[in-house]
Subunit: 234 residues, 2 copies
């Protein structure tokens, strides 16, 4: 982790898709006074599972994974985060320790907002408070969906769903590849399967003309068929 040149929150580009967008200009200035900005290199742990964070990070750019160490020493990726997401808010608001480590998937620039400040805003700014709550409730809905999927769908269906989710969350780069780089093991940890199984399925998808791969990059070729496989509902 190294420090970075701070950007004024008021002019921050992530505004539009960030709960902090509901704060007043004065409140944003308050953040400017207190915040710390830093860069985490790819692979670095931003917040470790089990710790109690003293605030949250707002992602300025880059991508992160929320990865949870299960009892058998295997990781599971329960969520991904990107530009504008608040990291660690669940833990801070529930007043619980972090249930997952937050790790940089690529070099990621974040701003630290102390817990006290965040709670102040919640106390004083109803609009912000509501949108925080809405965020939590939406994430809760997402989790419920994931639970059903893990419980009922097979690996093939889940992989198709993960690919479509990545597309929805990160979009495509100029070559039409998914704009996020993950190792096979990370894919496996998202789908909830063994790395070898994941590799076989990716290669099946390739043979069936659903995707193309180029080293670490993946391109969705037939999103319709993928959606069929994923059996998407709601």
């Amino acid at each position: 982790m190294s420090s970075a040149i701070p950007v004024h929150c008021k002019e921050c580009s992530v505004h539009n898709n960030c709960v902090l967008g509901h704060l007043t200009p004065e409140e944003l200035e308050q953040i400017d006074r207190d915040k710390g900005c830093s860069i985490f290199k790819k692979g670095q742990i931003i917040m470790p599972q089990g710790s109690k964070p003293s605030g949250v990070y707002c992602v300025f750019n880059g991508k992160v994974k929320f990865t949870r160490l299960g009892s058998e020493g295997r990781d599971h990726i329960i969520r991904l985060g990107t530009k504008g997401d608040l990291l660690g808010y669940r833990s801070v608001l529930a007043n619980e320790s972090l249930s997952a480590s937050i790790v940089a998937l690529e070099d990621t620039q974040v701003c630290f907002i102390p817990k006290s400040l965040l709670l102040n805003f919640i106390n004083e700014n109803v609009g912000f408070s509501l949108s925080m709550m809405q965020q939590a409730c939406q994430d809760l809905g997402e989790s419920g969906k994931m639970i059903t999927n893990l419980a009922q769908k097979n690996v093939r269906q889940r992989l198709a769903e993960v690919l479509l989710m990545l597309n929805a969350k990160f979009g495509k780069d100029q070559d039409d590849f998914l704009d996020v780089k993950l190792s096979r093991e990370e894919y496996a940890n998202m789908v909830g399967t063994a790395t070898e199984t994941l590799i076989r399925l990716l290669s099946d998808f390739k043979i069936e003309g659903l995707i193309e791969t180029n080293v670490k990059r993946v391109k969705l070729v037939d999103e319709i068929k993928l959606a069929n496989i994923a059996q998407l509902e709601n």
Copy 2:
């Protein structure tokens, strides 16, 4: 569903373990004026998946399940609710339709609180707002745990965990049996497995002296060993 004799919120016994406990006496009286009380018989749908509720139910007594219909027509139980729980709050606050049906596991008495009232309280009572948020964030933590479990643990481990969870949530009746009655299919839908598999495992547990069963009732005999099997962490 039939209507029931209303109890004044101020004197309601569920107070202590209910987010509504953070409301002022005046606010509770407001609820008294607007609320509707009703009884749902065992098996009745209190709120159907996909609908957009116009408020939340507060559980006065009884037990409910949150059950989600997957794409292959199979149900999965993602949570249980009991005395003092608010039903449908996630959907109301996220402004999304219900991601699961809420169904009475036994005769259940509930009070309906309109959405507008709930939002008023959130706007005006910071303490209440915070505890709602805390609730959401705690539930979100629970969900994350469930996701990891489903992804990494086998059926035997998950069953042990479900049994311990039921014990923690509902406790024991006078005969030391779990104070909740579920069909084998419902157990299977909580664990995320086929009914036949669940039955075999329950019978294994019985043979190993971990549990006793009596028709629909289940008694935990060796909670230590069950916890070992479940590989409980955090």
